[in-house]
Symmetry: C2
Subunit: 195 residues, 2 copies
């Protein structure tokens, strides 16, 4: 029978996204029966990440420094600012090798039905960033889902009002798909065809 | 872009059973962006569980004491010993409210193709336990899968050789199901095991 610290572990694992009661039980069993070193590694990795991972003051992505490596890279084109939803989307774009500008990472997307609006995705920080006097084009690379499109629309209106040129990844990206799961050449084409 | 402690966290999450690269990334993002208290809770739960969860000296299940609560319960029938694969299976049997004997928890099942044999599931400990002079019947409640059946077969032979009465959970039609929708081998087994 499970006792208290085992049940506490199962409950903590259940809070991970996509993990139900059965998976949490299976994970706890696996760690305690077959991989106690892995359990301790995970424990330390969680502690370290919570302590040291913060947000880049310029692009908002995860970093351990005040400003991330891409933002500090003098070889990047500071005239272009590409807006993505997550660090995973940013990493995907980087892997295409087709983009040499800078980024702004929303860390989410608007979802009015869930009460996640412009404020929650930090739209005003993005506007400040885009109005630095150097950025001449903002490329909106949010997902081509209903929420990603809504986010793109709202940001586009706000940026245009302030006189900034706004483009959107071309519709080479299949509608309804999340950027993270799209193959790299499709994304590369969409970058070139941006409008 | 992910930096070191974020990547370390993603790698540690990937070692959980059923978690691939994308899920690990999504979990790390969720914890760092939306649930840092949950990340610290999980870290502490892992530490505590690894430190305090051990195996019951009598039934081999997870416990924080030398001997678990069920094994210490004087109201349980010490003549019956039910063999299950995991603490989760044991918990399922307990929830039926139909069993008042004791347990032996294998913490796995034999899988000869993976090199998991009688030794790896602690068969000799089970034999010692079953030969305490009090146990008069061993009920094999391993899964009705190929591996669970193989485990049951090997344990059954070893126990019978030592003069212990061995029974197996009945195979049969699940309660509440219509015969039309039950697979044929289940019905065939239910016919053989009819009572
Ligand atoms: Zn940055
Ligand atoms: Zn016990």
């Amino acid at each position: 029978m499970p006792d208290t610290s085992l049940e506490t572990l199962i409950e903590a694992l259940r809070k991970l996204p996509g993990v139900g009661a059965k998976s949490a039980q299976r994970m706890a069993f696996h760690l305690l029966q077959h991989d106690r070193p892995g359990a301790l590694q995970l424990s330390r990795a969680l502690d370290t990440a919570v302590t040291s991972v913060r947000h880049c003051a310029r692009c908002n992505t995860f970093t351990e420094e005040p400003i991330c490596g891409i933002c500090l890279d003098p070889a990047r084109d500071a005239h272009q600012l590409c807006v993505v939803e997550t660090p995973a989307d940013q990493a995907t774009l980087e892997r295409t090798g087709s983009y040499r500008g800078l980024y702004y990472v929303l860390m989410g997307r608007m979802s009015p039905l869930d009460g996640i609006g412009a404020r929650e995705v930090g739209a005003s920080n993005l506007l400040d960033r885009a109005l630095d006097g150097v950025v001449s084009e903002v490329i909106l690379a949010t997902s081509f889902t209903a929420e990603g499109e809504a986010t793109s629309h709202v940001l586009s209106e706000a940026l245009k009002l302030r006189g900034i040129r706004v483009t959107r990844l071309a519709r080479g990206v299949p509608a309804g798909s999340e950027l993270e799961y799209v193959d790299l050449s499709t994304i590369a084409h969409a970058l070139v065809d941006r409008r």
